[in-house]
Subunit: 343 residues, 2 copies
DNA sequence: TTGTAAGCGTTATCAA
DNA sequence: TTGATAACGCTTACAA
């Protein structure tokens, strides 16, 4: 690239490099007239400081790194949005990387970001212990790390996520309150968060005096859309042909719930009459589905915003190891639409 | 961060800094035993080169910048995936930024990325002329830019997108071939791409000897889900209560089409019996919608992959201004499902 | 085969 | 108020 450098400005104006540097940084050491000359010349020639050089020198980059497992879903997009909005406000830039649910890739993301000299890390870790030693190491070495979404990770730092237990509990309670008693919970087979959600579901049943039938906990392979489709179809067919037929379903993820709705339509089951459906989902068009989908929504924008806020708290302090850390579990937002309300 | 530097390695091993540097870069100038000592020490102490310093020195960062208008939709996620997969193969890293359909923000993204020393730029521009001068300027100054998706932009360089005209043409033809003649096209009111899609639709009508009724071109405000929902509801109600009722709809974007399906269900119109529906969409669960949605799909992964490939072509050449540029319009993928096939 | 030294574009210390 | 100069961590002629 061909942006002008301070050296060239110095030469053109017949002043020293350091004078230019100071002038550009609005140092009080520099006289007003000189400052003005420099600033005007810089402006006129579209001077842009070379960030690499600046960062190399100062050790600060005003950039943070964000690692998430995947950006391919509305929940993540919304978190990213929240992070970026906050970053914009505080004048930071953001580099996103995807770990693809793979600890190896996650490690390489972390290392890359460090090498690039980011000032801090926001991460939604692959699992409870992924790269724990590495993260502890860098966090201890004066490099701030904040965890979002997957807050069950063991690193001791700020963590921002959602009260999954409560979300699932309230959704299940809603189903029970609407007269459903035979409630199925469909979760992914791999992800840790489903655990809390399952617990909430389970507790709601218990509190209502409903015995949990372990046939009613379905764990799906989420590898891809086709596999999921087949698994759901099989599961529903099996459940609905058993003697103890369910009358409601709680979906533990966006993909599961939306796909489920399609499967039920295809199999000819009416929602909510035969089966009420509610699920964790952050899609924008939940109300446009057929039927309009009842959702447990995560305040994704706020998660991103708060994660960024906590990270900035670290970055701002000189010795931030004294900062009082805490885990924040935001409330989910339940919206009851047609799919779970008896018509 | 506290990664060790070559200076420290040099001191520890009692060799010079340049020896270490050369050894790490596997230079032939360095003896095997020395090389081995250095490599082992580096390995043992987790040496990681400081990329900022490396980049500052070499002027190459092995990083490319990607600017897209928004990452909040499946099409973009898939493009990103394609870019990242290719980047991984060629050992490059990727920084993503969002322009949010705003030329000002776009400009700042471009500048930021340049300052960060990326080796090239992949951009899906806000509109035909957004930041054209700036882009031309940097592209001319030996900094490669490749355009993807929004290929109607005026910059002269490689462009990779989709044949929107053809996609819309074939989809419309499909509707006509299935016996529909009164076909509505719903487009967004703002985006340039809708233009080509409308033209394809229009041409298909013409070729089939069907007169275009301009009541049948609906332009929607896509500002947010609620607004769109209302606009669609009004449009459908109006259309279906007119004397010349439509019998099919072509949706020109993901959001429009999926939302439309919900609206039709809510208003009680049966798809495809009363209204056939087909639309541009890259959602994974099109087949899980109710009814399964016929789609014109863009090969997003391939777009990302090819865009990256073209950019690498530039980056690889010393004097790449001789490279023969071209615009690639990939074919869309039409999948006919229940929503457009008379049962 | 190894080392010296200059330089990438900045900032920062210390003299002038 | 300004200017040499060293330094950040690395690469690379060029010398030894």
């Amino acid at each position: 690239m061909s942006s002008i450098t301070i050296k060239e400005i110095a030469k053109a104006l017949n002043v020293s490099i350091s004078t230019v540097s100071k002038a550009l940084n609005d140092s009080h050491e520099i006289g007003e007239k000189t400052k003005k000359r420099v600033l005007e010349y810089a402006e006129a020639h579209h001077y842009k400081p070379n960030l690499l050089a600046q960062n190399l020198k100062t050790g600060k980059s005003n950039t943070i790194g964000v690692i998430l497992t995947s950006i391919n879903n509305p929940f993540c997009s919304q978190i990213i949005e929240g992070i970026q909005q906050h970053a914009l406000k505080v004048g930071f830039e953001v580099i996103f990387m995807q770990s693809r649910e793979n600890p190896e890739i996650e490690r390489s993301c972390i290392e890359t970001l460090m090498q690039r000299g980011v000032d801090g890390l926001l991460i939604s870790p692959v699992d409870e212990t992924s790269n724990q030693k590495l993260l502890e190491d860098i966090h201890d070495h004066n490099f701030p790390v904040v965890i979002f979404d997957r807050i069950q990770h063991n690193l001791e730092t700020f963590k921002i996520g959602v009260n999954n237990f409560q979300g699932a509990y309230l959704a299940t309670k809603h189903l029970i309150d609407s007269g459903r008693t035979k409630i199925v919970n469909i979760t992914a087979s791999r992800f840790g968060l489903s655990g809390e959600r399952f617990k909430g579901y389970h507790q709601a049943l218990t509190d209502a005096g409903i015995a949990f039938d372990d046939q009613f906990h379905i764990q799906c392979n989420m590898q891809n859309q086709e596999v999921l489709d087949v698994e759901l179809k099989n599961a529903i067919t099996r459940l609905m042909s058993a003697e103890n037929k369910p009358d409601a379903i709680l979906g533990s993820s966006d993909t599961i719930t939306v796909t489920l709705l399609g499967v039920l339509a295809e199999l000819g089951y009416s929602v909510p009459d035969e089966l009420a459906v509610i699920g964790f989902s952050n899609i924008d068009f939940a109300r446009s589905l057929n039927p309009a989908l009842s959702t447990i929504r995560q305040p994704a924008l706020e998660i991103g915003d708060m994660a960024m806020e906590k990270l900035m708290k670290f970055i701002a302090k000189k010795n931030w190891h004294q900062v009082q850390i805490e885990t924040t579990e935001l409330d989910t937002i339940l919206t009851f639409r047609k799919s779970s309300i008896q018509s």
